[in-house]
Subunit: 131 residues, 4 copies
Amino acid sequence: MIELIYKRKVNFYETDAQGIVHHSNYPRYFEEARGYYLEHIGFPYYKLREELRVDVVLLSLNVQYLKPVYFGEELEIRFSIIEKDKFFFKFRYEVFSNQELKTVGETKHCCLNRDTRKIIKIPQILYERMV
Amino acid sequence: MIELIYKRKVNFYETDAQGIVHHSNYPRYFEEARGYYLEHIGFPYYKLREELRVDVVLLSLNVQYLKPVYFGEELEIRFSIIEKDKFFFKFRYEVFSNQELKTVGETKHCCLNRDTRKIIKIPQILYERMV
Amino acid sequence: MIELIYKRKVNFYETDAQGIVHHSNYPRYFEEARGYYLEHIGFPYYKLREELRVDVVLLSLNVQYLKPVYFGEELEIRFSIIEKDKFFFKFRYEVFSNQELKTVGETKHCCLNRDTRKIIKIPQILYERMV
Amino acid sequence: MIELIYKRKVNFYETDAQGIVHHSNYPRYFEEARGYYLEHIGFPYYKLREELRVDVVLLSLNVQYLKPVYFGEELEIRFSIIEKDKFFFKFRYEVFSNQELKTVGETKHCCLNRDTRKIIKIPQILYERMV
């Protein structure tokens, strides 16, 4: 199992009038982390889209907001694939800041043929590298 | 139980390069729906924040993405409070478009004192109206 | 000249940690206003995209931020086309809240053929209605 | 004059159904670049906000969209302060991708006392470093 760490700072435009990161940004952070994963295994998402004509779509999203995150913090997202079969895969994410667990998330995905918009098996070359 | 319907169009800036509404917008739609709820029960969120010095925060989020939504569609979000105790409450949302169920979501919340950032009981006046 | 008024509330997720609407939302409000304009003249943008295979793109953007806008305010955007020739058109927007002018903006646009991504003349049927 | 280069990748959630980066993201990229500038001169924005109780606000924004940017591109934003007096300062940004100039922008700012929300002179310590 590959566990990766994706780091990124909080942008000011991601905060809200409560003074914290708005909750709708975490799904975006998770997407960034997945992009980093695909690069890491040698298959950046734009290649997947252009060369294999495959879209990765989100089927379900789950987020537990444990502690708020403030502007100026640097996030460390530790994440990995926790389930996988021929069609579906699941990521789990833990968002840390200052060594403290702030947020936990899970996302479930499948692949679509971009032209037909139909669900397809995870492309073999991708499947093998997703460990 | 109050079941409300919140309607809103999809904005072009909410779409992504897959040609569909990006998944991170649904938590924002849910937030808009809750704002509509608070207005409906006579307690718009800005009043809650300014007069009672109360913030409503998100503790957990759950979204099932059943079908994609495209630019030009008009969303109808049917939603209600499905659980409530002295401290916590949960909303459930069903997002329809063209009479078809597209997305289902749940959010769990509590109230904070804006000055101390501590969890407080749901203010009585709010609690009574949240049915 | 058609001058339209587009109304919309500020969403909580559009605020930032300064407690005001983040500046990057105004270009989005302007886009919403243009969408309203196209509907008003009987040519909703999704139709333009799907039936005529035309994209409207932004060439330049200009915003003067005169006063901040806070959560809970209701915006009234008064806007119209202020310049037009066979290829280009310009909108001007005035964002009011509580009868006070908060923000002024201008955007310049042209049309693209969606398939070639080349600039084209404004489609005749659209050109005639854009007054 | 300090000219800095701020690099960042395009996120998928920043694209729209035209398949390109949505125009409302550039003001956000500019904000990120300014954050990088403040760090570079030893004054990260969160310190400015918390230690000096100063907010930096946007007074005007100007963007020329020369060429579209696609998902998968890596942006290089070259930027610097092009005007400055005791109260106001202006940044100019050039966004490159694949060695090609895609977008040009300018932003004008001033500082506010966070408690009074009144315009103040640029704090001396900041003024001296902003070259």
